[in-house]
Symmetry: D2
Subunit: 345 residues, 4 copies
């Protein structure tokens, strides 16, 4: 059994890790920490976990000590020091935050106003989006930068078309809609029930921090610099992201070729379900699971590809993908503990 | 008091007309009809109206007879005959359906598989989007084609930029999200509560019937043929449409110029609220009212205008706008009965 | 026009007062105050009110100065001093808080841990539940204790049976369910969207502060001390209270007699709609309005009366009823500004 | 591996069985049937199951043939014939419908207007509420009458108090609130999204068919005839039942004794979580799991016990409990495949 420690266990991503690791046949939660709830039981914070995980929240140090792998779900800026500690003690470190995701320190500075404390450490980190960059993630890897939610969903929806050069990389638009858990557990006015319920709006329009991360992934696939227009919106649901992505189809390319390219690209990917033509990706159908559903659409009149991707922002967009990465670096089958049937309702 | 008849009063748009006309100081509902509920009281169909409107549903003929103006909320194809009857009896006719919206019979044929039964009748109809085409809507007008919901929201969000030539008309994208009432009152599997709740998906991607109507409006404003990519989505809320519209800013034009153009364009329009820069249009803030809130955003990196429009699909997107049109053709102040304060929650 | 001042205008009840007074033909908001948002515009706090009420929040003193009547929506304990000020300046004072509701200082001490600062002031206050105690509310009244939400709904559902002695007063149970706005605007963990959404639970079981107020009303009606079991629950909706009330039918009394008694009791009450037998009171049907819908049911096997009452907790349960009281004390028709059609959806 | 057949697999209970059996380590779905969708793939009906269960819906006969155990989720009246077939072929039969739940044919006639086709068959059936009647459910049992949702929740909340004679059995009230999946998958007007959303109401007040079943269970526990007042309500959520149950505490009994009795009664029951005093049972915390959370409350003034029980109506109230019963009759640990962590949000 892999000993799993979770730092920041009382945030939503941390709590979801607890749920998924508890169901994992080859891993177990051995320690959890939380700055806000230190000394309290996890099940006092989340009564859903009563009798299931009644561990007390300990310190980060205790968590590191007791674990083979440390998952960190921390505000950005706080993971780098912890990563260093883990590496020095030969623990694997999987970061659900943003500190190791961007390869360019300039971009990290621009978007997060932070800096790379230790460039060698950053050099050791790999970006853990297995379906697109599995070749970089090796057994024994020490630091995983686990992608963000939007940055998993939109790139998966666009990857085959971008990588195979079937669409123009200029003018790509990602119009994304996320459930509220993506905004975190801290009560804020805008997510107070009566203010969000029966509402819907865009936020951080063309200025969200996931922008450079989406671009980094698409640029790697395209092997050239790609810029996107990324607009997130807040949905009055708990979970799920739908990314509606628009790209101009290259001259001479048919929609059927694109469809075929997606089929080939994802044919061995258990967690990506390319929907039959005519269906629409829906967050309703992947909740609580690690699936990414993709539907493809053709605007014949404007000759655009419209690719819709749907994930659970807390699973494939956070905790589930982190465990997928853990499985890889510990030499397990990627699906272990993640072959969850999404509920039909 | 204007005598108002409502044909198709038991559908959602019809029911909303009843609510709004009941509150109108210079109009009253004198008769309602419904094919499905003929002989039943409106308040049996909508218990919210108990003691307020307990009228029995009569026949279309009776409604026409008893009214100065007939509002029709019917499935497409059924309004033309009724319009003819109304005109012959010198009653005003306001059509909330699609029969008179498209000026091109070819497009009507292509998108609705219908035909214009009487071209003269169509020639008499005017398209009732007052903020954009008020000069066409005259006192005494006999037939109003009341715009659809998406086709009110997206054009209002884009109008100043398109009309003044500040954005490229090629490549415009309207990514729209609508509450469920837009799909009608008839129970269907996809809108059964447990299947829609906590879900979100696109539908009729780049193939929705509102596409040619949006294009007709934008083409008139631009004075050239405009094609748009229109993708509607279904939100798990009762009311509201958010249109997130993307357009490339023309070279040499600044975002500040665009902002200024919107301010000028809408400065006398009571029902359009251009939000202060930094705010995001939210369907939460216009529910039950006839307002259209618009927020403007600039993607500096891709130099795109992103305009978000929010309306209540049942009010500004249907019944409210229809009454706004009634007010005009009966010589009343446009706001009469429509100066509704949107609830704060 | 009555000049209306609102103290605590940025809470939910205060904001609802703004909405309703704005629609009132014989009253207007002349000043608003808020401790938390002093100096800010009301429409910055509630963007729904943009262009409709852009007043700045002033001090309590300013509000009192500018008004004929002051509505206070304050945490308990803060109204007494303000009432005194108002009375001394000959302003009417309508308190949406709890300070003047209980006639017994002992009960106020027991349940609110407060005291009556000025017994004479309390002697001047009348309890403003017009349908039950209209004879006490006179034109020119200076202090109105506006009832709470649960304490309006449950008593209205039970009143005819209790007053006419048709049910046993021992063992009455009020199982009540409220929308979230009842818990206030302040963001708290338990009402953070993801924690409340898709959830439902009781709270303050048999210990909620509305208990003695419900009992005070029922005791007056019964002319003897009545004790009730009151259990509130939190519904994942914005607005509405449903009170399901249980009482043993007295021997010799038939359900039909009870039905008839309700019909007589409420036959002239515009705001109470006794539903036809066979229907169920539903918060869906009274939202945004001042109606209280009541349905009556008979458990024949246990011979219990089950009376369901539904109100909008923010209207009949707060701001609407407060305006109803204002109308009375200013000599207007009670319905003025309150004949709102509840939306059908 | 136990071969599981599901008759009525496209209803909500059937679909939930598919989800849970797929996750069960010692059982697998071998065939499914559906009258409405025969010949279609299950994943066409529920796209959530794409790639997970793409079986075609077959006939009942085929399902029986291919299975060791047949689960039936059918409208009442249709299970008896099928049970007979199963028994004759030595297949176990677990009925999620009502046909075998009531022991009294008179009550079945009164409440369901049906009859017992074969009294011997009924004599073979046992009522499968393991926490209360485990001693009746034996390995090798052939027919299980799986309890209904309300009839699992309310009795579990009341059982220790009733069985040990700590409360009066006269005057018990079960005020219950259920998520919409309890009303089935068929689209009906009342559960059309806009009509249910933001609504709440009681239904079938004191006349719901689960009444005699609740009474049967409580009567067995009390060893005398118990009558209850049962009022169900419909919650605007997908899943979950909260039962708020009221009973008079017997003279001489303290609340602490009751608390202690519950602790003892349920101390070895994995699926029942008696919450620490001060907490409130919430459907939020048991969703998708087989847990029943119970919180106890004391109305000191009326000396009533208020017991709140919360279950997922589709799991402990249907499919999960059915699998719990399967585990017992096949000699497996009761928890097998059911030790699901309820999501924290």
């Amino acid at each position: 059994m892999i000993k799993v420690g979770i730092v920041g266990a009382t945030g939503y991503a941390g709590a979801e890790l607890v749920r998924l690791i508890t169901n994992h046949p080859q891993a177990q939660v051995t320690a959890v920490s939380s700055v806000s709830f230190q000394g309290q039981k996890l099940s006092e914070v989340y009564p859903a976990y009563l009798n299931i995980n009644d561990m007390e929240c300990e310190t980060q140090e205790q968590v590191v000590e007791k674990s083979d792998v440390v998952f960190a779900a921390l505000p950005h800026g706080l993971s780098q020091e912890l990563a260093k500690q883990c590496v020095s003690k030969e623990k694997a470190f999987i970061d659900l935050g943003a500190d190791f995701r961007l390869e360019s320190e300039d971009e990290y500075k621009e978007w997060y106003n932070g800096e790379f404390l230790d460039k060698e450490l950053h050099a050791e980190a790999v970006y853990g989006l297995p379906e697109l960059f599995r070749e970089n993630i090796h057994k024994g890897q020490k630091i995983i930068a686990n992608p963000g939610c939007y940055t998993t969903c939109a790139p998966l929806a666009l990857a085959p078309a971008v990588k195979l050069g079937l669409v123009e990389t200029k003018g790509i638009i990602c119009d994304c809609k996320s459930g509220v858990t993506g905004a975190g557990r801290k009560p804020v006015q805008s997510n107070h029930y009566p203010e969000l319920n029966e509402g819907f709006h865009a936020y951080k329009v063309a200025s969200h921090r996931h922008t450079p991360e989406i671009e980094q992934t698409l640029s790697k696939l395209a092997e050239k610099k790609v810029t996107v227009t990324f607009v997130p919106h807040l949905l009055p649901v708990n979970r799920g992201i739908l990314a509606t992505c628009y790209a101009d189809i290259k001259e001479g390319v048919t929609f059927e070729q694109i469809r075929k390219a997606y089929e080939d690209f994802y044919k061995d990917e258990y967690f990506v379900r390319l929907l039959p033509q005519g269906m629409n990706a829906d967050i309703h159908n992947i909740k609580y699971s690690n699936f990414c559903d993709i539907s493809l659409h053709h605007d014949k009149r404007a000759n655009k590809l419209i690719a819709c991707g749907a994930i659970d922002n807390m699973v494939k967009g956070a905790a589930g993908q982190a465990i997928q990465n853990m499985n890889i670096i510990f030499g397990l089958d990627e699906k272990t503990g993640l072959d969850i049937v999404p509920p039909a309702f």
